[in-house]
Symmetry: C2
Subunit: 218 residues, 2 copies
């Protein structure tokens, strides 16, 4: 559905135009907004910063995470084309948000309530549902089940095709799933070996046996 450039292509002009993302935007054009481009790894907001904007990914991908004092990281969510993030219901951010690949983002001032506020409940609900889904994964599933659930989630959000774009690194995946990069890599290898998936490039997965993956993630 979205034929975005792979994340490791970072030269300028390699990114699709904003118009290429045929995503129904939730906010009317009447709301004050602006589009900005973020280089791979660059910060969108940081924990402790003043909040007040909400953001929509035009193309690219974003990770939102928290840190423990010793550096352990938990990515609470990834956001891809069309998805909205940044609303935490407080005047201050409790998370960090970074562009994973080169990413274009629309910002909306939350204070211009009329256009935006009616979308806050559905947006927040989607976040809650995903977070609760993810609690089950982190609390009760094995490494293989976590990776299976992850692949299916990403694939569905990209339109349900077999070809899955993985803009994030193994480290990101590990920090999302509560695993180390080695474990993620080993699970990928095992799935490849069993013919469940293929890995044409490091940042692309191909789902060969949907049913098996679905049965694994239960």
């Amino acid at each position: 559905m979205f034929a975005f450039a792979h994340s490791h292509i970072s030269g300028q002009g390699q990114y699709p135009h904003a118009n290429d993302a045929h995503v129904p935007l939730p906010f009317g054009a009447t709301s004050p907004q602006q589009t900005s481009f973020h280089a791979p790894g660059s910060e969108i907001y940081a924990q402790g910063e003043a909040a007040g904007n909400i953001y929509q990914v035009e193309f690219g991908a974003v990770r939102v995470y928290r840190l423990l004092s010793d550096g352990r990281r938990q990515i609470s969510a990834f956001y891809m084309s069309g998805e909205v993030f940044g609303f935490e219901g407080d005047t201050v951010h409790h998370f960090f948000a970074e562009a994973i690949t080169g990413t274009s983002i629309r910002s909306f001032r939350q204070s211009q309530l009329n256009d935006v506020s009616q979308f806050l409940l559905p947006i927040t609900l989607r976040g809650l549902t995903r977070a609760q889904e993810h609690l089950l994964v982190l609390g009760r599933q094995t490494a293989a089940e976590r990776v299976a659930a992850f692949l299916l989630d990403i694939a569905r959000r990209q339109g349900g095709l077999e070809q899955v774009d993985l803009p994030m690194s193994r480290m990101d995946i590990g920090d999302y799933l509560g695993l180390t990069i080695e474990t993620v890599s080993r699970v990928f290898s095992k799935m490849k070996e069993k013919g469940i998936i293929a890995l044409p490039t490091l940042r692309t997965a191909e789902i060969l046996k949907w049913k098996t993956l679905e049965a694994m993630s239960d």
Copy 2:
């Protein structure tokens, strides 16, 4: 602050009257509502059931959870006096909700929008914040850190006193923290041995060293 009967006291007449819970209720008395009593372990709603009510705990405690097909359980949240639950933004429930101890619950019809809907965003936001907090715990913390975070969370929600009421079983705690009952029990024992907490009864904890617990949970 809330001097509720301990959960293992389950004889009738042992429960405080509804009026004993001096909790500011979020909804005006004009909204249609009714109060019902639930025996320990009884279902409030089940996954797949039609949704449409939201609930407020008057006294007692509630667990909300999901199951995997093989029976593994993840409790996504506990709700105690004054707290609101049951809104999932769908016409059908995706979770199970059960009374842990004898519990009194007020129901509000969500369809009578005028009184209730204005509270949905703050309620949903509180749930989202807690879920995200919990993601960090489940994804990246050790058994001892999880238990420390749990005790502090419960203690703070009960008014910040040292005496903490634990209406839920070790099994419930384990299924909330992504641990087995044995591990929960071992961590409790170790904390007791180190003088961080005391366990006057099975369902009561006393926090002796707040600072230590806080340092543990980071």
